[in-house]
Amino acid sequence: MSADTVPHIPEHRIVQIIADRSARATEHAHLDHCGRCRTVLTELRGDLGRFRRQATLAAPSPAKRFVLPADGPERHTIRRWRFGWALAGTVLSLALLVLFLRTGDGWHLPGLSFPTPPIAQWSDPQMTQVNQLAENPLPETYLALSESLDEGYEEGFIDFLVPPLNGDPVS
């Protein structure tokens, strides 16, 4: 049977022969006799070879070579241990921070809490007034008036009201 009477190798099969780098025995036999199929195969294979050669030539060579690090592969284990310790430390620090920020009446996150006026911290209403006075002194006229009121009292009268301890006067 001549090559002309035998059906040619389908193009998809030629592609497979090249991709797999293998052909059936019958295909080999056909290729030995059929110039047309052989041309298709060799041209495609040749183009792939040229493509590879040109790509190799168009690629530079590496300027720097890989040098093995001084430490061995076991160093990896040490790094993992270090990483583990660092992670544990971070988690612990975060837990402490959360505990620190948490108060009895809820959560106070730094970005969300509002500054509390110091005066509001006093629960005693009298002390609140004292603080208000300390921060906002009385007007001069009122102070002058209170001094003139104090003038009427004598030391003896004060001692009578508040007896001195160990004989010391109060004032």
Partner: protein, 205 residues
């Protein structure tokens, strides 16, 4: 089936397997020899995908460093080459992801850094080579745009990086039949790209 010989001689593979086994036993010299043997291939493989010499060098360093650090994870020394290629493929994918991410934030960012494809030594030989190379990679890029991502990867691994079907399946974590399917499709597209094939024939060295 009659097997057509691969571009990599069998002795080369045996040598790599033997050296990989020795490296697994803690032999640093064996690993250094592996690097000497495989570094040019890995570097080229990365360059084909990044088209940047600087980036290819950096990624190549990372690949070997990672391989050295995680050598204990390698179960079969005879698969060292495909294992190394898998690391390289992953690194290249990371690189492309980073490039894409950066390009979102930088309008001026140039993803095509072919200009640094030519080392200074090569520049001395003249700009003609640089122009030819640039044109070559542009043509390659145009040809590859016809291929899907998987077809492109399989095609490059097969015909530029010269890996076997089984190795490619190992590298990509795919079955051999899947690899073959993509490879046939990719090769079919290459076959029908007459313009690229004509260019390759004209520009042959």
């Amino acid at each position: 089936m009659v097997e057509t010989p691969s571009a990599q001689p069998p002795d080369h593979d045996t040598d790599v397997s033997r050296l990989a086994a020795q490296a697994l036993d803690g032999n640093r010299f064996a690993f250094q020899q592996l690097v000497s043997q495989l570094e040019p291939r890995i570097f080229r493989m990365i360059f084909y995908r990044t088209r940047s010499r600087q980036d290819a060098e950096d990624i190549c360093q990372d690949v070997f460093l990672q391989a050295y650090r995680s050598l204990k994870k390698l179960r079969e020394p005879e698969r060292f080459a495909s294992w190394l290629f898998r690391i390289a493929v992953n690194r290249v994918n990371d690189y492309h992801r980073r490039q894409k991410f950066r390009s979102l934030f930088s309008v001026l960012h140039d993803t095509d850094s072919e200009d640094d494809a030519d080392p200074p030594a090569d520049r001395e030989t003249g700009t003609m080579d640089a122009i030819v190379r640039k044109e070559f990679w542009q043509k390659v890029e145009t040809m590859l745009t016809q291929l899907s991502k998987m077809e492109k990867e399989v095609f490059l691994l097969r015909f530029l990086d010269d890996l076997g079907i089984k190795e490619i399946a190992d590298v990509l974590h795919k079955s051999e039949s899947t690899v073959k399917t993509h490879l046939y499709r990719a090769l079919g597209k290459f076959k029908n790209d007459q313009a690229f094939r004509a260019y390759i024939q004209e520009a042959q060295p």
